[in-house]
């Protein structure tokens, strides 16, 4: 038997399983400093596939979780357009990115329904642009007005629109009044803006009589009326 001819096994690349792999764990998982070009390429590509494979797997698990969904929204928004302020509030609560709103929309059937109603324009789109064109008519009806309520009383706001002024403006209002002079007005009305709409935050005292209250929103500088607010306080 000629020792030179005897066939021997080649040593394997590694001789044990990789049990627990954590990002940044085994230092021997990187190519040696003097690795040739081929090794770097092969190693890199393999690493890339591992990274994306892990990411895809995580995504599947996350998708399962989101479809189960337990975002505990229980109260029913009474004013559809107030949802826009609610969405903004959600984005402030959620510390990662504001796009968790998408998640809230997707998981919460009431939010979802409301958003659908929100995106339908209140007036039919003017006949400019081709039918089914890229974007619905916008701007012709004005800026949406939405409501938020403070206090223990239940109230409903009537959706409305404010006329746009074409330049930045401060808004003012003298409050909301009932046609019945015996009823006290709602004076605590704060106007604020977000990317979607103007928000009228109305504070209703506990002893406010039920009824319908309305008021005018004006441009603070020119005093031009821009639109009306109407609120119905329930018994």
């Amino acid at each position: 038997m000629n020792e030179h001819e005897r066939i021997r096994r080649a040593p394997p690349g590694r001789a044990a399983p990789l049990r627990n792999e954590w990002p940044g764990a085994p230092a021997d998982h990187q190519p040696p400093p003097d690795a040739g070009l081929e090794e770097v390429i092969a190693h890199t590509v393999r690493l890339g596939y591992e990274v994306i494979g892990e990411n895809i797997r995580q995504g599947r698990i996350a998708a399962d979780r989101f479809s189960a969904g337990d975002y505990g929204v229980r109260d029913v928004p009474r004013d559809l357009l107030a949802l826009s302020s609610r969405m903004l509030q959600l984005s402030r609560d959620i510390s990662t990115t504001a796009f968790d709103i998408c998640g809230a929309i997707l998981r919460d059937p009431t939010l979802r329904a409301a958003v659908q109603r929100y995106t339908a324009p209140p007036n039919p789109a003017p006949a400019s642009g081709p039918a089914g064109g890229p974007w619905p008519g916008q701007g012709a009806a004005g800026v949406p007005l939405t409501y938020a309520f403070k206090g223990t009383r239940r109230a409903v706001g009537m959706p409305g629109w404010l006329r746009g002024t074409g330049q930045p403006s401060l808004l003012s209002t003298a409050g909301l009044w009932s046609p019945d002079p015996a009823l006290p007005p709602l004076r605590q009305v704060a106007l604020s803006a977000d990317a979607f709409a103007i928000i009228a935050t109305v504070t209703i005292p506990d002893d406010q009589p039920a009824g319908t209250y309305s008021g005018v929103v004006s441009d603070a500088l020119t005093h031009q009326p821009l639109g009306a607010m109407t609120v119905q306080v329930e018994a």
């Binding site: 940044g24 400093p33 890339g48 895809i56 995504g59 989101f66 089914g132 974007w135 803006a193």
Partner: protein, 354 residues
């Protein structure tokens, strides 16, 4: 085509097809029109409107929205079907740029001062948030033309991307603020995947696939291709920041000041001697304002000397090879079209900027 291609051969014989700049122009213009529509429809809210509209109007390569439109058309849809989503992609991209520039302490964006330099950080943050929300609107408007189920799927995909992006940002910030010294290639690729590739190349392609396939085609099919393309893109972007010999809209060596954990830094730290490693670690432990141009110069020189630049370039080419392989798997079955060529052509295109 998957393997070893020397850098000069790549430059020589593997040029970007003309369809890439052509469609970038065409789809970019269509997207800009849509973006402008949404910007113009915004109420001119004080302290917000000008900030919000600034970045989107500064222009850009429009790679991300173009990927979306090209994928949609390659899979059979019309430009009009995809342009709203493309606008959302561009708006979202710009919103994140505002935040990125604050985080990175950048001075310049697209040749002009960064938004927070012009208006201060609080208002810039506010504008970024508002722009994010604004980006939602075209996605909600999809409902009319694309129908409810498909629009919701696009929103779902967007959410998945947003989560990844947030995680990637957190990773990178964690390394920076924690002074991490032991970041590896695998960590880097994971971070790049999450922070960059998802938003820049994977998600736009997925939206396009969803629109083109009318929800029938699985958006998962483009994830690997998108990842390899996006990773290549980011590595080359990192290289550009170190090596460009002319300004390209951001400041040179900004990444070094930030001690951004790039492949070059990882490689340098791994291959240098012990004394040099201690110096690197000391550098990493400093705050940005404590880092001096002298230290930056030393670090850049070290990277060049150790071959870290070449290493990163090789890695980019390797990943580009993988991207070509994945392109064939994901798009191979499609009939020939300019859009299909465009998508394939993005691979050599990302190298062009070096």
């Amino acid at each position: 085509m998957h393997g070893r291609i020397p850098a000069d051969a790549r430059r020589a014989g593997f040029a970007t097809p003309d369809v890439v700049p052509e469609l970038l122009r065409e789809y970019g213009a269509a997207t800009r029109r849509a973006v402008e529509h949404y910007l113009a429809a915004e109420r001119p809210a004080p302290y917000l409107h000008d900030l919000l509209t600034d970045y989107p109007r500064r222009g850009g390569k429009m790679m991300r929205p173009a990927i979306c439109i090209a994928n949609a058309r390659a899979f059979g849809a019309r430009l009009e079907d995809a342009v709203r989503s493309a606008a959302a992609i561009e708006l979202l991209h710009n919103a994140l740029l505002i935040h990125d520039d604050i985080e990175d302490g950048s001075d310049l964006r697209r040749g002009r001062p960064a938004l927070h330099k012009l208006h201060g950080i609080p208002r810039a943050i506010n504008a970024g948030d508002a722009l994010l929300l604004l980006a939602l609107r075209p996605l909600l408007d999809n409902r009319g033309a694309l129908g409810q189920p498909l629009s919701l799927r696009i929103l779902e995909q967007t959410q998945a991307m947003a989560r990844e992006t947030a995680e990637g940002q957190a990773l990178e910030l964690g390394w920076r603020d924690g002074g991490a010294t032991d970041v590896t290639e695998a960590d880097y690729l994971t971070m790049v995947l999450k922070k960059t590739a998802w938003m820049a190349t994977i998600w736009p392609a997925q939206i396009g696939v969803l629109i083109g396939g009318r929800g029938e085609t699985d958006p998962g099919r483009v994830v690997r291709f998108g990842f390899f393309l996006g990773a290549t893109f980011q590595i080359l972007d990192d290289l550009l920041n170190l090596t460009a010999d002319r300004a390209y809209g951001k400041e040179l060596n900004g990444d070094l000041y930030e001690a951004k954990r790039t492949l070059m830094l990882i490689h340098a730290r791994r291959t240098c001697g012990d004394g040099e490693r201690d110096q690197i670690d000391a550098f990493l432990a400093l705050r940005r304002e404590e880092r001096t141009p002298g230290q930056i110069g030393w670090l850049a020189g070290l990277m060049a000397r150790l071959g870290s630049i070449d290493y990163a370039r090789t890695v980019a080419e390797a990943l580009a090879g993988a991207a070509e392989h994945e392109f064939a798997l994901a798009y191979g079955h499609l009939p020939p079209s300019p859009d299909k060529d465009f998508i394939a052509g993005l691979i050599p295109w990302v190298f062009e900027r070096i």
